[in-house]
Amino acid sequence: MSRVKPTVDFIHAWRNPDDIADEVEAELRFHVQMRTNSNIEQGMTPEEARLAATQSFGDFDQVKVSCCEIKRGFPFDLKPLRMGVYIAIACLAGGISLWAVNVPHHNLFSVLWQLIAIAVLMRSFLIGRKRNNPHID
């Protein structure tokens, strides 16, 4: 059940990107405000406290962008999904190959079909193998 909320958040992030950006900004601003308050308690002037808080936070805009990107990121591991797509393409190409083999080779068109299907089958096999093992040249 722990995947339900990330999925809902993912859909929400894509449908309402401005809401997400505002939400992230509010959260980060809260952090800077808390740090500023802490600095004031330690004896800094409000201006010094604010400046020190901003500096210790780092690049505010970059952090905001990173957080928004993570929110919009796909909430599942894409590797099994990609493998599934390659398997589906390979099955389809295999099916077409079988069909093409059973078509009488009277004309150029059916031979062409057969060659295309075999090429797609080989290509999807090679891409799938390379993606799963990047060390293969």
């Binding site: 980060l28 809260f30 405000q33 210790s56 936070f57 690049d59 957080c67």
Partner: protein, 110 residues
């Protein structure tokens, strides 16, 4: 260990965030404070890097968040550990203990 030089190994931040939230729900600022507190002030997290870490963990379903009112009556986003997060913390702790003990063994080797 010098505080200034106490950098974090990759992946350690996630474990520390999970550990901080294991002790109870907190907002992002509180997570940083708690990590500093439980490490006796030795570990100081770069404040900005905390948030992408929190968002990543939430995306993995290990923590969840909701907006609430903070101790100073401001709206703040509070994070808490999920059941999957508790399990993950146990795994991370075991991995860390194995790594630390292996590293110590290597360093003590003659």
């Amino acid at each position: 260990m010098s505080k200034a030089k106490a950098g974090l190994l990759q992946g350690t931040l996630d474990m520390l965030i999970l550990k901080a939230l294991f002790l109870g729900p907190l907002h992002g600022y509180g997570v940083g404070q708690r990590i500093a507190q439980i490490s006796g002030g030795e570990l100081k997290i770069e404040e900005g890097s905390l948030y992408p870490g929190l968002y990543r963990l939430e995306r993995r379903g290990w923590i969840e968040s909701e907006w609430d009112v903070s101790e100073n009556n401001q709206r703040a986003k509070f994070y808490k550990l999920t059941r999957a997060g508790r399990k993950q913390l146990i795994v991370e702790e075991q991995n860390w203990e194995r790594l630390a003990s292996a590293t110590m063994k290597a360093l003590r080797a003659n």
